[in-house]
Amino acid sequence: MKQKVVIIGTGHGGIQAASSLREEGFEGEIVLISDEKEMPYQKPPLSKGFLQDKQTEDAILFRSVNFYQNNNIDLRLGAKVCKIEPNNCQISLENGEIISYNFLIIATGTSNRKLIIDGKLVENVYFLRNLVDAKNIQQKLKESQNIVVIGGGFIGLELAALSIEKGKNVTVIEAQSRLMERVLPAIVSNVFYETHQQNGVRILLQTAIENITTNEVILKNGENIKADLILAGIGVIPETSLASEAGIACENGVLVNEFQQTNFSNIYAIGDCANHFNAFANKNLRLESVQNAVDQAKVAVNHILGKPQPYHTVPWFWTNQYHLKLQMAGINSDYDETHFRGDIEGQKFSVFYYKNQKLVAVDSLNRPADHLAARKLIQNGISPTFEQVADLALKFGELCC
């Protein structure tokens, strides 16, 4: 009998899982479910090319409209899964339909953390998660002059950069003492701070919000900031409600093993919603990145097809703001030494992070070749000497592979 794989979610993970199944020769049924109405599209460009008006809706589609039919993938758009029944190997849709599966892949991603002030949910704030959100923001940006961005993380800063480039007045409010403090060292985040300021963005660090009205953000220090549009990027929470209600083990995401399996052996979780042990971080974590979603999809598919290969890929991330192109390889949360390569003043440098003299991560600012090399170095466990890091004449390609 033909086997059936059901995939919930059509982000990078879900689409990759469906594609890889066919590429690897899976001949059974594939049902791919999205609660959104649009053809599956890529989310990273929403806060970049799409809202910059450089990429159209069509340009960010994952695949052609015909791809799903040509590959015999049963794509269900606008379909909401309301229940997973692991013991019966079936899911229920909101419209009452029941779909059985041999294997289930949960690729539900994350949702935006809501803004709560004094215990009350703030309503008139725009968040960016999907295409509908992006289109709402696109329209609202046209009508607005004064933009306030709450949260100085990747998404908030990408939105700030594209808003100021549209000629708006932009203020960023961040509770921490630095931009992107959770993921970047001071030397890198300061470059972003200075660049945003030079471009005219007003950045308020260590700043708390007292209240938000329809057209004002009132700070704890008493200042009122006029706001025609308030955007917020204050983190995400994994979409695990379906899984946890079904008795699938969750803890900051759906818990998975190195093959992406949950505590039910025929249910997998991949991408932003999957909490896994990551060898490159040496701890359990969730990663919110394209790389992680795509590679975990391949791991799950290979396991389903009886060709198990554990997840073992160097994490990498990126952000684009103005002329600043930041690429991050590895996890820089635990290190005891850093070394620099390139021109710090000229905003063209990489930070190499070492732990016990082993290279664990590299952040590259406007040095894309360093980034690509770093991924290979870390993947292969090669740690260049500090002299080699500083030696611009040395091409890392000579050290690895």
Partner: protein, 106 residues
């Protein structure tokens, strides 16, 4: 619309028409052409849309920026004189008939 020929590494040819302004990467991905990964979605971040351009069309391409140049140095397949990143080449009228070869790996 300009016509593009993609040749996959195994020799499979695909002739497709692309709208002006689309990139070679978008054209490949949306026409189900194998061998273009385009992990970063066209941000010039990952060097997984590496292609070889037919020599006749090399001079008609948009000029290569420094970042593309550097990324190509780190591409997984051999870099050649006619290497480009597909996400950085937008289709113009001049490129009608262009032949694009996909490398063995990305």
């Amino acid at each position: 619309m300009p016509q593009i020929t993609y040749i996959e590494n195994n020799g499979t040819e695909h002739q497709v028409e692309l709208p002006l302004g689309a990139t070679l990467m978008e054209g490949a991905v949306q026409n189900d052409i194998k061998g273009i990964v385009a992990e970063c979605g066209g941000s010039c971040m990952c060097a997984t849309c590496h292609v070889y351009i037919d020599d006749k069309f090399l001079d008609l391409l948009p000029e290569m920026e420094e970042e593309e140049d550097e990324m190509l140095d780190g591409a997984n397949a051999e870099r050649r004189e006619n290497s480009r990143l597909g996400c950085q080449v937008r289709i113009s009228k001049q490129l009608d008939g262009i032949i694009v070869r996909i490398p063995e790996k990305q």
